[in-house]
């Protein structure tokens, strides 16, 4: 069974970002995340005995960067998202406000 392991500097990528990036591969590969001091190791292996994709490291690196950007967006907009939804749907008028139950 072919296996590949990547080391991630936790000072560059948070555990949450690394886990989200790794999770993207759970549909096609076996995935394992372990903490080792200042690093995280992420292991991938093929579920059906086939070879791992040649561009796995390139893809995973891209996904790590993208997840870090998404974390920045979440951090800046999280409260705002709840407020906007509340404001939008508070003003909406139910079709039938008095439903017998």
């Amino acid at each position: 069974m072919e296996r590949s392991q990547f080391t991630i500097d936790r000072a560059l990528y948070s555990d949450d970002v690394a886990a989200r990036a790794a999770h993207r591969y759970t549909g096609e590969l076996g995935v394992e995340v372990r903490s080792q001091g200042a690093n995280l190791t992420v292991g991938f292996w093929s579920l059906d005995g086939s070879k791992l994709p040649e561009d796995l490291w390139a893809r995973f690196s891209r996904d790590l960067l993208d997840e870090r950007l998404r974390a920045a967006v979440r951090s800046e907009t999280n409260g705002l998202q709840q407020e906007l939804l509340r404001a939008a749907l508070n003003q909406a008028q139910p079709v039938m406000p008095h439903v017998e139950v």
Partner: protein, 351 residues
Amino acid sequence: MSRFRPAQAFAAPSDYQLLPLRFRRLPWDHDRAFVSSMAGDWLLMKMVDVQRLVNHQLPTESALFADLEARHLTVAGTDRSSLAPLLSQIRSRKSYLMGGPALHIFVVSLRCHHTCNYCQVSRQETSATAYDMERAHAEQAVERLFEWPSQELTIEFQGGEPLLNFEQVKAITRRIVERNRSARRTLRFVLASTLHDLTDDQLAFLTEHRFKLSTSLDGPEWLHNANRPRPGRDSYRRTVEGIERGRRWLGDDGVSALTTLTRQSLEVPEAIIDEYRKLGFHSISLRPLSPYGFATKTARRTGYPTEDFLAFYRRAFDHLLSVNLAGYAMEESYASLLLSQLFTSFGRRHL
């Protein structure tokens, strides 16, 4: 003193606030991304610009920034900008939440003539009446139906084959119509059936209550019969006869058809579309197999990987475009769903 303030006085503030957004790199171009707002506005951007946007390095006087503001992905100067248009768009997009579910399915029997490998339900032999919906359950189901607030209610009878328990279809329909005298909802009845052996009495009842008929047609005769085996191997002929009879009673738009795609189907997208055209349909639904019921047990024989379905869909879509360009209007319902979500402000209920 000048009568006008200098241009800089009207310039946007240099910093900005991100609004909730999502992005995903394009699978065919990793240097660009699809970026969308809470309200469903979207645009394609270079990834390098997404990074600059998120890191607050995008100049607020740039054309790209103006585009992002117009699509509610960011806002410069929250003190002078209104979020009212965004709130209005979110309301429109999510308006379906206010009414609750509109489609209500009554499975009046699990009995069926067919033995389709891809069947989503646990069909039973035609003699197994123990698998019919009982009167008490039907009455309870009608009460549950009217508890939902939606002004428009679609009642769809399914099976198995609902024609095998048509008395229950009639009883439920009459009960709903009676109950609606006070409830005053807009009702729409649908019968999902093979349409085999439709009688004049049944058609008269369906016409009286303005039913729509929905049937399964998997493509040309050889494919339909292979996908939908039944004693006599004549499923195609019987379905086509049912479509014609249904149209005579309910009008051309009173009958629609759905196709289910097996591994065999993926080899002949053009033939499937041409069959629908031959039979006068103006809509086709090219959906992959659903992994439920019997379909889970036969997935190895009839199923296929997503890549194969997508290759089929590309061929089918190209052919569909050529059919339309040749003057025959035909929509693919899943494409219509996605395109209306992308290019209109309104959320469309899937069903």
